[in-house]
Amino acid sequence: MKLRGNGRRIHDPGRGLFIFLCMIPAFAFLAIFLYYPIEETFRFSLTRTAGLGEEVYVGLDNYLKLFANEEFRAGLLHVFTWAFWSIVIQLPLAFLIAFSLSYYVNRFTKPLKAIFYLSNVLPSAITAMLGKFIFAPKYGIVASIAGALHWDWLASIDFLGNPDLAFWAVFAIATWAYTGFPIIYLMARIEQIPKEIREAAELDGASAWRYAWHVVLPDLGYPFRILAVLCTVGSLKLFDLPNMMTTGGPGNATVTLGITLYRHGFVNWNYGKAAAIGVIIFLLSLVFTILQLSLGRKKGESL
């Protein structure tokens, strides 16, 4: 019997069949529930359903109407505002926590790490419930604390009912819920830095601050880019928290692309427009993934 590297066999008729059989289940699932719907999304996005389910080709009409639609434009704006602030606020916060946790290793380190990630595994329905309760007027957590301090101006604010504040209230809850991931991810990266480098830095008298700034941060270029991509793609898909905490309101204050898609597709039953939003979400996440991964990539550095 001839073997050629890696178990590859010459004249082995069973090999091809085995590969075929192993790939079939995965491709069956993907073909039915992913490839076919993807193709249909593109097709739907160019049609309008008229009358009794009859589809009419309308070209780019759905897209043009969307960009003229106030709700959709609000969603687009919120998604990018959300992505920007999650990169600017959540990532530096995560870095501070991740660096402190891995710089000072003691008996608290492991439990702390587990706790910081805990809120990520909560079902979003529960996170939304907690968020609503934290910001509820009168008896909510913020209102109660403000009441105890006799800060009546703060206690009387209805965060989720105020168009100027609702977005930030939802964002604050998301920061609470989702910063755990960048923390554990950055920690894993920081722990890969050889101990000798830190010892050398300490022998040179470098403070924790200088070590973080000059040694650790420059080493985290790649993970930060990955996290920035995840923040952006996550914002494009954002749906659960704003839908359950504020249902996109008040007005359009917390509308996201995900919510406009849901409303067009499953509240107004306008498939064409919903599919067009789906295509836009997909294309935007594709563009931003490629952009963020290629921007700031050093020459010769592999992806």
């Binding site: 073997l3 000072y104 910081f116 079902p123 609503k132 008896y139 909510g140 498939y271």
Partner: protein, 282 residues
């Protein structure tokens, strides 16, 4: 030299920063403790003293929530969906991951990348055609109609994980089995798959947590109240009563979050490891 054992005595900065981190961790935990503060109170007691410790342990809210939200039905539905998602995600992913790791050729690489494409497609993108297709084939508003597409969305990621796991196993193992006359299938099922147990445990854990917590897909695909999963029940309760019925609501929330939180407490090391592995690979 203190350099050699720097952590025998804690320096002031270390103490300060650790205290700061502990305070931060408390802000993560406290909101999770709150429901327990409310759940044992009557509506009236909650309205007047929401923050006090409960005077007595009353289970009536659990009973009331159980009835109002039909928690038994919700738990059963969610369990079926989660187990279905596990059963439909892991075997296809393990097979495809194994073949793409161990039978490398241009064809299998191409197939692997065709699977991986699915990893970058947001579920939102395909919701509309998915729903219409499910209506056509009478899958909409059934539990299997929910966990089948869920599995399809999960397969690309887990194929990736299995592929990198199988690549890490020594090649000699497989060759030895093959020389001993084991066929392709029995090499996989008898030797390679058992070796992949860590990956499988991880997949079971994370697929379960993901399916248990799902909201968007369930919201779109399920319409009959009887088919609602726990998360949908909790969310619709939240919509109809707001946070006014907090004690009852807290009871439903505690029950619906308990499985994932308990699984996390038991398996957080694996969960964290697997989550990072998924992100690092790409």
């Amino acid at each position: 030299m203190s350099r050699k054992a720097p952590h025998v005595r804690y320096g002031l900065p270390e103490v300060l920063i650790t205290v700061f981190l502990v305070v931060l961790a408390l802000t993560v935990i406290l909101p999770l403790v709150l429901p327990f503060l409310f759940v044992f109170k009557t509506q009236l007691e909650f309205a007047y003293h929401p923050w006090s410790l409960p005077k007595e342990i009353r289970w009536s809210n659990f009973a009331a929530a159980w009835k109002a939200v039909r928690i038994d039905q919700g738990l059963l539905n969610t369990l079926i969906v989660s187990l279905g998602a596990i059963a439909c995600t892991i075997p296809p992913a393990a097979l495809a991951g194994y073949v793409s790791a161990r039978y490398r050729s241009k064809v299998t690489e191409l197939l692997f990348y065709a699977i991986l494409v699915g990893y970058f497609v947001p579920a939102q993108m395909v919701l509309v055609p998915l729903y219409r297709m499910e209506v056509t084939f009478k899958l909409a508003d059934t539990l299997h109609g929910l966990f089948l597409p869920m599995a399809a969305f999960g397969i690309p990621f887990w194929t990736l994980i299995y592929r990198s796991f199988f690549r890490g196993l020594p090649a000699e193992l497989m060759e030895a089995a093959r020389i001993d006359g084991a066929g392709h299938g029995s090499t996989f099922f008898r030797i390679m798959l058992p070796l992949a147990n860590p990956a499988t445990v991880l997949a079971i854990l994370l697929v379960f947590v993901g399916a248990w917590s799902d909201y968007l897909l369930s919201l779109v695909l399920l319409t009959n109240q009887n088919n609602f999963t726990m998360q949908l029940r909790v969310a619709s309760f939240l919509n109809s009563y707001g946070t006014d019925r907090m004690p009852k609501y807290a009871a439903a929330a505690i029950i619906s979050a308990a499985p994932t939180v308990i699984l996390y407490i038991i398996g957080h090391r694996w969960v964290i490891k697997g989550t990072i592995a998924g992100a690092v690979k790409e």
